[in-house]
Symmetry: C2
Subunit: 139 residues, 2 copies
DNA sequence: TGAGACGGTAAACTAAATTTACTACAATGT
DNA sequence: ACATTGTAGTAAATTTAGTTTACCGTCTCA
């Protein structure tokens, strides 16, 4: 089994579960593409262009998502003070609630994995993934 | 750092790298959506409906991808012998080459991660991910 | 042997992305 | 000071990708 599938399959499963539980928790106007915005570390205080780069999509595509999320009342785009070109994305209360719900779901998942692997092995798994994260590998 | 991002970010990076290197290696007519078909464990000998379920998409969407890949010469769809309803996807030579190239790229990535983490820790990481894979967790 | 289920396919529609093009502002250089 | 170049964001038009709806042929089993 190669590392690609080993990472992809659980990552996808987590992604779907987040969307489902978010919808079930009353945030039922959030769709799959919106997740590109809500992904860690979240859009609060960040400029649209940076969000686009993080999500690996064009600024225009990100802008459509932001407009949609703004219309749904999850975020607001405000002008920046010091630089007239830039704007900053801010969570509304509802947006913050949704983001916080995602963290809840992820903590549930972590609890389940801990129960399955045992606390020590789960900690080890996370530690290794953090090492990869912090390494200078090409990504 | 929660498990969602720790899995998602490297998985996405690997995905992009596979597409880029595949394109650079001469398979430049393969696009992002085609990857849903080429994902482990590959489509060879598998029915369209099963591939759709694996990829988490409708049978119709999968069918469009298969038609596209058939037009590009990567796969063929042949009638099944025993069941007149079913068809089976088969790699062409070119398809097998592409699939094998993906495995090459993944092995390169594994080598890099091994160099970064050390062979022991990389083996440990994979072993833990396999444990998650084989566990009865809801995914 | 006929009703219903299954597997696959296609057309039409919807959703979501990119391409192209533009505006506003900032930074730089002369 | 002002023209030039670059940056950030946005929007319209287009392309791409996916779902919904509908259908046909084949299998199963009562």
């Amino acid at each position: 089994m190669l590392i690609g599938a080993l990472l992809r399959v659980p990552a996808q499963a987590i992604h779907r579960r987040i969307i489902n539980e978010l919808n079930a928790a009353g945030f039922d106007d959030l769709r799959v593409p919106h997740m590109a915005v809500l992904q860690f570390p979240g859009p609060d205080g960040v400029r649209p262009g940076v969000l686009a780069e993080r999500a690996g999509m064009s600024k225009q595509a990100m802008n459509q998502l932001l407009r949609s999320l703004e219309g749904l009342g999850y975020i607001a785009r405000s002008d920046s003070k010091d630089d007239g070109r830039t704007r900053v994305v801010r969570f509304t209360t509802r947006g913050r609630q949704a983001y916080s719900k995602i963290a809840d779901i992820l903590r549930d998942i972590e609890r389940e994995w801990t129960a399955e692997l045992g606390p020590k092995r789960f900690a080890e798994l996370k530690a290794l993934l953090v090492r990869v994260w912090e390494s200078p590998l090409p990504w």
